[in-house]
Amino acid sequence: MKFGVVVFPGSNCDLDAYHLVKDVIKQPVDYVWHQEESVTGYDCIILPGGFSYGDYLRCGAIARFSPVMKAVKEFALRGGLVIGICNGFQVLVEAGLLPGALYRNTVLQFRCQFTHLKVENYETPFTETIERGRLLKIPIAHGEGNYYVDNETLRQLESNGQIIFRYATEQGEVSDTANPNGSVYNIAGVCNANKNVLGMMPHPERAGEAILGSEDGLMIFDSILKHWEGSRL
C-alpha cells in the first residue's frame, strides 16, 4: 500500500509520519511537495502536523490553497483515503473536506500531553480493526485544537457516525476534565460523510513504538492497511 506524506512549507511532522510508514509499518512512502498537482499512484495521503505557512492568520488557512490540495480534494472525492493529523486536520477543515472549524484552545496555551481516546465508530477504514472498547493512548501537541461545529451540524455528525474519536479519561470517561482544548462534545477526530477522510488532532504517528510510550497509534494504521487489502479483493 503506497502512502504519500504531503509537505507544506512549515510542516514539521512530515518526517515522523514518513518514518512510521517506512520503518514501523514498513510500507512504501513518498514525500509529496506542496506544489505537486497530482497524487495519483498513492493509496493513502497523509497531511502531517506542523505549522504550514507558519499557521499565520489561521491554522491551515493558507495551505488549503496550495496546488497539492486541489489534487487531494479530487483524490478524496474519488474515495481515496486521506488522514489529516493536527495541522493536517486544520487544513482539511479549512479546505472544506471536513465540517467545522478548529480554533484556540480554551486554556489559551499550547498543550503537549498524552490523551486517551474513545473510539465512537468502528465502521470506518481507520478504525475497523480496533478492538471494541479499547481506549487509545495517543499524544496531542497543539495550540488550536478546539473543535467547533454548531448544534445542528453536531447532530448530523452524530447520526451519520462521523464522530470518530473523543477525549476521555484514563478510565474511559468522556468528561470535561478529559477535554484538553475545549472541543465541542470532546471531539478529537471526525471524518467526512463518506468515511474516507479522517481528521484528528492527536498524533498517531507519535504513538507507534513502545520506546516512545505507546503503540496505540498503530491500530489506526493497521485498520487502514486491512481496509485497503480488503478493498482490493
Binding site: L57, A61, F65, A101, T106, Y148, G182
Partner: protein
C-alpha cells in the same frame, strides 16, 4: 489607493476564551466597570485600486475566501483612501 480596515470577531455563538481572559484580567487590575470584552483580529489591506465599489467587492471576496473563516468568524470593514 484604498486601504481596507478589516475587523474580525468570533461569532456571538462561539465561545471567546481570549475575550474572557482579558475581561478577567482587567477586573483583577481593578477596572470594575468592564462589562464585556471580545478579542479578534484586525487587518489592513492596501489595494492599488481607486474604485470604491470594485474594492468593496474584492475585499468581501478576500474575506470569504481567505481572511476569515465564516464557520466561526464575522467580519466588517471600512475603506479609507491612502
Amino acid at each position: 489607493m484604498l486601504k481596507a480596515q478589516i475587523k474580525v470577531l468570533l461569532k456571538q455563538s462561539v465561545l471567546d476564551p481570549q475575550g474572557q481572559a482579558v475581561e478577567k484580567a482587567l477586573g483583577s487590575l481593578g477596572y470594575n466597570n468592564v462589562e464585556h470584552v471580545r478579542v479578534g483580529k484586525y487587518l489592513e489591506v492596501t489595494l492599488a485600486e481607486n474604485n470604491r465599489e470594485a474594492a468593496h467587492k474584492q475585499v468581501e471576496e478576500m474575506c470569504e475566501r481567505l481572511l476569515t473563516n465564516t464557520v466561526i468568524e464575522d467580519y466588517t470593514f471600512t475603506l479609507v483612501e491612502v
